[in-house]
C-alpha cells in the first residue's frame, strides 16, 4: 500500500472514532443526566488524537528507519573486495543494487519467477532493457541475489509497516473510546496536544535557521578541505574552471576579493543614491505633507517595494543599461568628438542605480516609521522656542531618531548585499577588480547563481564554492541584521 493510502486510512479511522465518540458521549449526557466534564466535541477530538497521533508518528519513524536498516543489512553481505574499497564505491554499488531491485518490480510476475539467485546479471539487464529500464554497466553477478533480497525486505517492510500503523490507529481509537466517561478530562488532553502543535510550529523558525547553517556548513567545510581558506578569502583572482572529469589539479582559482569588492561597490553606489532620496522623502512625508498627499504618495512609493526584483533586473538590462551607454557616448562625443561610450551597458553604475530605485521605498518607509515615533513633545518644545520646522528636524528630530535611522540603513545595506536578480542581469559576470564605476563588476550572489545553474556534481570545488560564498553572505547579512535589530530594540525601549 502506498504511504498516502496508509495516511488516508489512518485519517478515516480517526474520523470514524471521533464520530462514534461524539455519539457515545452525547448519549452518556442524555442517559444519566450526568454533567460531562468536557463537551462531546472534545471527546471526539480526544479519540481522534489517540487514533492518529501514535499511528502517524510510527509511520514517520518507520519511513526514516527502515531504509537505513535494510541498507546496512544488504551492505553487510557485499563481497569483501567491495567492502574494502572507499565508501564512494560502496555507495555506487548499493545504488546499482537498488536500481536492479526496482527494475525487478517492473517485470511481470511470470518473468520475475525465472530470475533466481543464480541468474547472471547480463540476462537480467537484457530483460530490463526491453522494458526501458537502463542498468549501469558496472553491475555484477553477485548483485542479483542482493537485489532479490533487497526487494524481499522492502516488500516485507511495507507490509509490516502497514499492519503496525493500522493496528496502532485502531488500538488508539479503541483505547480512547474506552476511556470516555463523564468525568474524563478530555478537553485538557486535547488542549495539551494543541499547545504541543503550536510549539512545534514555532520551532520551525529555529529549524530553518539551523537548516540554513548546517546545510551550508558541511559543504563549506568540504570546500575548504580542497581549497585553503587563505586562498579563498585573500585571493584576488576568480577563475573557477569547470575541469573535465579526472583532470586533477586544474581547479582554477577561487579568490573571493573581487566578488566582495564588487558586492560592496555596487551596494555603496546604490546606497549613495537611495539614502538621500529615501531619507528626504521620509522627512517630507512625516513632517511636511498633509494627510491627503501622504495617503497618495506613500502607497505609490511602496509600489516600488512590491515590484519583483526580476522586473528591476529586466529594466536595467533593456532600458537603463543601454540608456547610460548611449548617454555616455553622446557626452564623450560632445567633449572629445569621439562617439565611443565610456559606460558599459552592464556596469557598477547601472546595477547600483537600479538597485537604488528598489531600495528607496525601503529606506523611506523604515525612516518614516522611526521619525513619526519620535515623541510629539520634543517637536513642540523646539517649535515653541521659535525654531523653524527644518531646524527642528535637523537639530532635534534627526538626532533623536539617529539610532533608528542607522539601523534602518544597516537593514537596507544587508538587502543591497543580498540582492540577486538585479545584479545577475545588470552587473555582468566578469570578476574584475576595479574602481571605475563604469566598468562591469560581479557580486557574490551572481557567482552563486552562476556556479549552481546547470548540471551539478556535488563533489567538485566549482559547485561547493557556491556554498562557501553563501555562507559568507549569510554571515555578513546576519551580522548586519542582528546589529540593526539590537539597535532597534534598544531604541524602542528609550521612548516607551
Amino acid at each position: 500500500m502506498s504511504t498516502l493510502t496508509i495516511i488516508f486510512l489512518v485519517l478515516v479511522i480517526g474520523l470514524a472514532g471521533a464520530f462514534l465518540a461524539y455519539r457515545y458521549s452525547r448519549s452518556l449526557a442524555a442517559k444519566d443526566g450526568a454533567q460531562l466534564h468536557s463537551r462531546p466535541i472534545y471527546h471526539a477530538s480526544y479519540v481522534a488524537c489517540w487514533a492518529m497521533i501514535p499511528a502517524l508518528l510510527a509511520l514517520m519513524v518507520w519511513l526514516v528507519v527502515s531504509p537505513i536498516v535494510i541498507a546496512s543489512d544488504v551492505r553487510g553481505s557485499f563481497p569483501e573486495g567491495i567492502l574494502a574499497e572507499t565508501s564512494l564505491t560502496e555507495d555506487l554499488a548499493y545504488g546499482i543494487v537498488e536500481s536492479l531491485g526496482s527494475g525487478l518490480r517492473v517485470l511481470p510476475a511470470d518473468e520475475r519467477e525465472t530470475i533466481t539467485d543464480a541468474t547472471p546479471v547480463a540476462e537480467l539487464r537484457e530483460l530490463l532493457n526491453q522494458r526501458g529500464v537502463p542498468i549501469a554497466s558496472a553491475s555484477a553477478d553477485w548483485m542479483v541475489p542482493l537485489a532479490i533480497q533487497l526487494n524481499g525486505m522492502q516488500i516485507f517492510s511495507r507490509w509490516a509497516m502497514t499492519a503496525v500503523v493500522v493496528l496502532l490507529a485502531l488500538g488508539g481509537a479503541f483505547w480512547g473510546y474506552r476511556n470516555i466517561a463523564p468525568r474524563l478530562r478530555a478537553r485538557n488532553g486535547v488542549e495539551r496536544v494543541v499547545t504541543g502543535a503550536l510549539i512545534a510550529a514555532s520551532s520551525i523558525a529555529i529549524m530553518t535557521t539551523v537548516g540554513i547553517v548546517f546545510s551550508m556548513l558541511f559543504e563549506t567545510i568540504d570546500f575548504f578541505s580542497r581549497i585553503s581558506p587563505m586562498e579563498f578569502f585573500f585571493g584576488t583572482e576568480w577563475n573557477p574552471r569547470f575541469s573535465g572529469a579526472g583532470s586533477e589539479g586544474s581547479a582554477g582559482s577561487f579568490g573571493f576579493i573581487p566578488l566582495l569588492a564588487g558586492t560592496l561597490y555596487i551596494g555603496f553606489v546604490a546606497m549613495l543614491i537611495a539614502v538621500p532620496i529615501g531619507l528626504f522623502a521620509a522627512i517630507y512625508m512625516a513632517e511636511y505633507a498633509d494627510s491627503r498627499t501622504r495617503s497618495v504618495v506613500k502607497p505609490l512609493l511602496e509600489v516600488l517595494a512590491g515590484i519583483p526584483t526580476i522586473v528591476y533586473g529586466f529594466f536595467a538590462l533593456v532600458t537603463v543599461g543601454p540608456f547610460l551607454r548611449d548617454l555616455s557616448a553622446q557626452i564623450s562625443g560632445l567633449v572629445t568628438g569621439d562617439y565611443t561610450s565610456f559606460i558599459q551597458a552592464q556596469s557598477v553604475l547601472t546595477a547600483g542605480l537600479v538597485m537604488a530605485i528598489m531600495l528607496i521605498p525601503f529606506v523611506s518607509s523604515l525612516s518614516d516609521d522611526i521619525i513619526t515615533s519620535v515623541p510629539r513633545s520634543l517637536r513642540d518644545g523646539s517649535l515653541g522656542l521659535g525654531a523653524t520646522r527644518s531646524e527642528t528636524i535637523k537639530r532635534v528630530i534627526l538626532p533623536a531618531a539617529l539610532p533608528g535611522i542607522v539601523s534602518a540603513l544597516l537593514l537596507t545595506a544587508s538587502r543591497a548585499i543580498g540582492e540577486t536578480m538585479i545584479v545577475v542581469l545588470a552587473a555582468g559576470v566578469a570578476a574584475n577588480l576595479t574602481i571605475n564605476p563604469f566598468d562591469a563588476m560581479t557580486t557574490i550572489t551572481v557567482k552563486i547563481v552562476a556556479q549552481l545553474t546547470g548540471d551539478l556534481e556535488f563533489n567538485s570545488p566549482q559547485t561547493l564554492v557556491a556554498f562557501a560564498l553563501g555562507m559568507t553572505l549569510f554571515v555578513i547579512t546576519l551580522c548586519l541584521n542582528i546589529y540593526a535589530l539590537y539597535i532597534v530594540r534598544k531604541y524602542k525601549e528609550q521612548y516607551e
Partner: protein, 439 residues
C-alpha cells in the same frame, strides 16, 4: 495702559532694524529643505513612472499576435485517406505541415512554387508552430482531409515585429531580419485583408519555446499556481500556529526570545540563501526531484513564514485584552479563548498579511534558479512533482534571449506578473478597509 501698549508696539516694530536675527535666511533654508523633500519624492515617483512606462510600452504589443489567413489544402496525397489514418496515424504525425502551409500561402501570393528563393521568403513569414497547429486540426477532425479550409495561422516573429514597427526599415536589407521581398508580400496580404492582429491567447497557454511566437507563460503560470497553493497550505497554518504560541501562550524566557530573534532575522536573510538551503536539504538530502514545483513551494514557504508570522502577531496584538478577559471570565479555557474569540477577530489582519506574503513569494526568482527551475519546460506539469517553471523564472529566461520579439514577450510576461501582484495587493487593501476594526 494704552500708552504702554503703543510703546511696546513701537518697540517691537523697531526691533528688526536694530537686530537682524537672520529670519530671511532661515526661511530660505526652510524653503530649500522642503524643496529637497519634494524633489526626493518626485525622483522616486519619476523612477516608478519610468519603470512602468518602460515595461508597458514594450510589452502591450505582446498581447496581439499577427495571424495570416491561408487557404490550406489537406490533400489525400500528403496525408493519406481518412481510412488509412484510422488505422495508423504515423503518416499524419510525420506529414510536412509547414510545406502545406507554405504552398497555401504561395497560392495566395501568386508565387511560383518552383522558385526556391521566393518560397523560402514565403515560408519565413509563417511560424514553425503551424506544424502542431495543423496536425492537431487534422487529428481532431479527420473529415477535413481532402478539403481546402481557410485557416488563421501564426505569423513568424519577424513578420510580427515588422508589422508592430519594431524594426528600423531604413537600414539596408541585409542588416535586418526581414527582406524587401517579404515586405512586398506583407503589403499584398494586407491588401487582401488576409493579415490581422488578433488577441494573443497563446501567450497565456503555451509553454517554453525557442520560437518567440509560440512561447507562452501557460506552463509557468501553472507552476507558480502549484507553488502558491503549497505555500498557502503550509505557511498559513504553521505561521498562524507559531504566532498564536508566541503571542498568547509563550512565557517570556530565553527560548521564546531565541525564536523571536530568529524570525526577525529570517525575514532579512537574502532570498538566495533559501535557495541554497532548498538545494542542500530538499534535493540533496531528501532526494526530491529537481525543478519540481514541490521543492519550489517548500522553499518559498520557509521564506514567506516570517512575513506571515509578523503580520499575524500584529493582528493578534491589535485584539484588545478585554475580549480575552471576558471570555476567561465566563469560564472559557485559554485555548478556547484564543481559538473561539481572539482568532476570528484577528482573521482579517491575518488574511491581509498572508496575501501580501504570497505576493512576495510569487515574485521571488533567485531561490528558484538554484533548485533547477531554470528549465525548458514545454508541457504542463500534471503534479507538483513534475518539472515546472515559474512566472518570474520564465521572465528571467526570456530576458536572456536576444531576439527583439522576446523582449516584447518578456515585457508582456512582466505585465501579467504585475497584474497578478496588483490583484493580490488590491484584495489585501480591500480586505483591510472592509473588515478592519478599531477598538
Amino acid at each position: 495702559m494704552s500708552d504702554t501698549t503703543a510703546n511696546g508696539l513701537a518697540e517691537t516694530s523697531a526691533r528688526p532694524e536694530r537686530r537682524d536675527i537672520g529670519i530671511k535666511k532661515r526661511y530660505a533654508a526652510e524653503r530649500r529643505f522642503k524643496a529637497y523633500g519634494i524633489i526626493a519624492i518626485a525622483i522616486g515617483l519619476a523612477f516608478l513612472v519610468a519603470l512602468l512606462w518602460s515595461v508597458f510600452s514594450k510589452g502591450y504589443t505582446a498581447f496581439w499576435q499577427t495571424e495570416i489567413q491561408v487557404p490550406i489544402t489537406f490533400s489525400e496525397e500528403v496525408l493519406g485517406t481518412p481510412e488509412q489514418a484510422n488505422q495508423s496515424q504515423t503518416k499524419l504525425m510525420m506529414a510536412n505541415y509547414p510545406q502545406i502551409a507554405r504552398e497555401g500561402l504561395a497560392q495566395l501570393l501568386d508565387v511560383d512554387t518552383s522558385d526556391r528563393d521566393a518560397m523560402r521568403a514565403v515560408g519565413a513569414l509563417i511560424s514553425d508552430g503551424v506544424r502542431i497547429e495543423l496536425r492537431d486540426m487534422v487529428l481532431n477532425d479527420l473529415s477535413i482531409i481532402g478539403t481546402t479550409q481557410d485557416v488563421w495561422l501564426y505569423a513568424s516573429s519577424e513578420l510580427d515585429s515588422a508589422l508592430k514597427g519594431q524594426y528600423d526599415l531604413a537600414v539596408p536589407e541585409n542588416r535586418r531580419p526581414i527582406s524587401d521581398l517579404q515586405l512586398q508580400y506583407i503589403e499584398t496580404l494586407q491588401e487582401q485583408g488576409a493579415i490581422e492582429q488578433r488577441f494573443n491567447t497563446g501567450l497565456f497557454t503555451f509553454g517554453a519555446s525557442s520560437r518567440a511566437e509560440t512561447a507562452g507563460v501557460g506552463v509557468a503560470i501553472i507552476g507558480s499556481l502549484y507553488m502558491m497553493l503549497i505555500v498557502l497550505a503550509l505557511a498559513l497554518p504553521i505561521g498562524v500556529a507559531a504566532s498564536i504560541y508566541l503571542e498568547e501562550f509563550a512565557p517570556k524566557n530565553k527560548f521564546t526570545d531565541l525564536i523571536e530573534v530568529n524570525i526577525n532575522n529570517l525575514a532579512a536573510v537574502p532570498s538566495i540563501v533559501f535557495g541554497l538551503l532548498g538545494l542542500a536539504v530538499f534535493i540533496n538530502w531528501f532526494g526530491l526531484p529537481r525543478s519540481a514545483a514541490l521543492v519550489g513551494g517548500l522553499v518559498l514557504t520557509l521564506m514567506t513564514l516570517p512575513t506571515i508570522i509578523i503580520a499575524t502577531r500584529a493582528a493578534l496584538r491589535a485584539v484588545p485584552p478585554s475580549i480575552r478577559w471576558a471570555a476567561l471570565g465566563v469560564g472559557a479555557s485559554k485555548t478556547q479563548t484564543v481559538f473561539h474569540h481572539v482568532l476570528p477577530l484577528a482573521a482579517p489582519g491575518i488574511l491581509t498579511g498572508t496575501i501580501i506574503g504570497l505576493a512576495q513569494a510569487l515574485g521571488e526568482t533567485a531561490p528558484l534558479l538554484l533548485i533547477g527551475m531554470v528549465a525548458f519546460v514545454a508541457d504542463y506539469p500534471s503534479t507538483p512533482m513534475d518539472p515546472a517553471t515559474a512566472l518570474p523564472v520564465q521572465i528571467y529566461m526570456w530576458a536572456n534571449e536576444a531576439e527583439r520579439a522576446f523582449v516584447e514577450r518578456t515585457s508582456g510576461a512582466i505585465i501579467i506578473l504585475l497584474a497578478f501582484l496588483a490583484i493580490m495587493n488590491l484584495t489585501a487593501i480591500f480586505l483591510r478597509r472592509r473588515f478592519e476594526r478599531r477598538w
